[in-house]
Symmetry: C2
Subunit: 416 residues, 2 copies
């Protein structure tokens, strides 16, 4: 039994009881207070962050990884603004999803209620501390945060500041808890703490997510891996196709909704590929193609089987020429991760077929895969992108941080 974990999880559970029925105003006021507190105490956060940065540099961490860890006044303001924006969003709790009357007179309502305690297990970026806590809170949940060891000082400083602000504004003690011990023992015990934690959401790399999915007994939502495809059909508007392919690959190659493979119909390959691949190359993309692709554009590297299965998360794209939409669908079925898939076509039946047959969280016609995102979908905020089918699929916003309760009104009904 890990004492800190047990104590904090228990506190969060106790807090979740009060959070479930406090008013929207109270939650929104707490979010605004948290935002103010972040800005007012930015020097304390920056001091903690400097410790993390120093330790990271001593470990030899550089470049993008180091940058993800870095906080600045403006990054702290951005976190505060995120909390303020959440205060503007509608409260998901209390929504009556459906209600009906039974022949015996019972009235049954299905009402949206908070999940209870949400455990967030995340990696380096300290801004997740605020994002996740604010989202959970707005949806009426207590949150138990467990960040990565690289950002431990930053995370603790941030969490303590927002927890204190939330408490001062009247929320129950324990609404926001952070696990200060970032050891593996603590997180392993957290994965099995069904008594206090209702749901786990891992946010981070494939290794973290795999560890949670494989070891958690607390219900968990798998997020993450996206091996996404763009299929350019024989009936595509080829100029549009080029723009979508370049955007899907290059707009932000390190994220899960970036495209990893381009599939092209044989009939348009000769016309489409030379210019499309030149454009990708001009954006710094390494292109790995099938033999037909190489025949058409000779500077292309040869793609291996593994390239089609890989989520590059980098400026690399695999290319394959296919005979028809069916072959594209089969390729996606074989290699895809059911995240985001796009077809470029002007043909009604081909589009309809692709939408029906491709099994993914988001299936696009004539648009970039990069739109699979809570903000882009208009949810206002996002806790992650689910790649499983239970509970939530695709971008998860406030609604996905809730469950339902049936309320049943009677006047003495008994069952015959």
């Amino acid at each position: 039994m890990h004492e800190e974990l047990q104590n904090k999880a228990k506190m969060a559970k106790e807090a979740s009881r009060g959070l479930a029925y406090i008013s929207t105003n109270e939650k929104d006021n707490a979010l605004l207070a948290m935002a103010r507190a972040l800005e007012e105490n930015s020097s304390e956060i920056l001091k903690a962050n400097a410790k993390d940065m120093e330790a990271a540099q001593q470990k030899g961490i550089t470049g993008a990884l180091l940058d993800r860890l870095r906080l600045t006044e403006s990054r702290i303001s951005a976190m505060a603004d995120g909390a303020r924006e959440l205060a503007q969003l509608p409260d998901p709790v209390g929504e009556v999803l459906t209600a009906w009357r039974r022949p015996n007179g019972l009235e049954i309502g299905q009402i949206r209620v908070p999940l209870g305690v949400v455990g967030i297990i995340y990696e380096a970026r300290p801004n997740v501390t605020v994002d996740a806590a604010a989202l959970c809170l707005k949806a009426g949940n207590a949150v138990l945060l467990r960040g990565g060891s690289e950002a431990v000082n930053s995370n603790i400083a941030i969490a303590n500041i927002i927890a204190k602000a939330a408490e001062k504004s009247g929320l129950p003690v324990g609404a926001i808890c952070i696990l200060e011990d970032t050891s593996r023992e603590a997180v392993n015990e957290m994965l099995k703490l069904n008594e206090y934690i209702d749901v786990l959401i891992p946010r981070g790399g494939a290794g973290l997510i795999k560890a949670v999915v494989e070891n958690a007994t607390v219900p968990a939502i798998e997020t993450g891996v996206g091996n996404c495809h763009v299929y350019v059909d024989e009936d595509a508007n080829l100029e549009q196709a080029k723009a979508v392919v370049v955007n899907s690959k290059c707009h932000r190659p390190g994220v899960c909704n970036a495209a990893e493979t381009l599939l092209v119909h044989r009939k348009v390959a000769e016309e489409f590929l030379p210019d499309a691949l030149d454009k990708l190359r001009a954006s710094g993309v390494e292109v790995r193609g099938c033999s037909e692709t190489k025949r058409i554009v000779e500077w292309v590297k040869e793609a291996t089987e593994e390239d089609y299965a890989n989520e590059f998360l980098d400026l690399i794209i695999a290319v394959k020429v296919v005979d028809n939409a069916k072959e594209a669908e089969e390729h996606i079925y074989r290699y895809g991760t059911k995240h985001s898939e796009s077809i470029i076509t002007e043909n009604y039946s081909t589009a309809r077929r692709f939408l029906q047959r491709v099994d993914a969280a988001a299936v696009y016609v004539n648009a970039s895969t990069r739109f699979t995102d809570g903000q882009q979908f208009g949810f206002g905020a996002e806790i992650g992108i689910s790649t499983q089918k239970l509970h939530a699929r695709g971008p998860m916003g406030l609604k996905e941080l809730t469950t339902i309760k049936y309320v049943v009104y009677g006047e003495g009904q008994i069952r015959d």
Copy 2:
């Protein structure tokens, strides 16, 4: 690698692709064909069942357990009727849950789609074979059944008959698969077969459910345990309260929505308990009460701490006198399993408070806990009752056997 399991799971996965977009008519015709085939082949089923009954008797199984295993012509007809009723229900697949247009012109729709492959792990009752398969099929899922060893011959006979009928009526091969090997090795491997199985639903006793929740890496839905309470408030209509208590306890004591503890407000305990407990005793119920209960009704046995925590699933009830609704809520929070909780009161504020503060799948005012059931809620069918908060809570019908897919229509949109 368990060969039978791997082969059948792979077949089911392959079948699920076709099932996802076949028409409602095709599914309903298959359900009707399955019903006919069950009745036409009843002698084959009864022969297989006789083997199971004989083996069970040799193992010394008797009484209710043996009866659960027994099939008769009329029980087979009831299974067939269940499939026919499902054919009458609306198809959940294809429902557009919501759709909207983004400022950039993208049109996003959230559409109900099947889960894919549902694994059902169940115990003795052979009728689950038909129920589960028919429900999964109607929701567009392939099903991989793994029944208990006691009913293995009955289950295999039934599954083969309905699988053949479904196939003959045009459904993909593999839509209904049964694991013939009922060994623990096979089921353990099934719990981790994320490659082919999308969701697991255990149906059975607490031990089975615990084993699935603790060991599955495939997302699973916890069903089952119900330590349900009826709280009789100071403002209750006491005659109504007696009827609800007796019904909640006695109507079918062996199921999860039966009441296990009666909580009574101190102010009405003297008036309510003598007659209420007499009525329970007259129905064969053993009553275990707190000291105050015993003071009022002296024949009552003394309740232990464990009695309040126990799901008796039997004609036993624990009774406790409480000072107010708050104490009742605290008792329920401490001992309840978040299944079904009922308050009997005529007081508006007390009812409202109880509905808000009690965290359970179904919270009742002035009605029996026995209504937490897919049929009673009007869902037409039920695959189980979820006691977790992810994905589904309370009775699960056809909708709970689906997930969603986002379809996004664009005209070349890319992300800035």
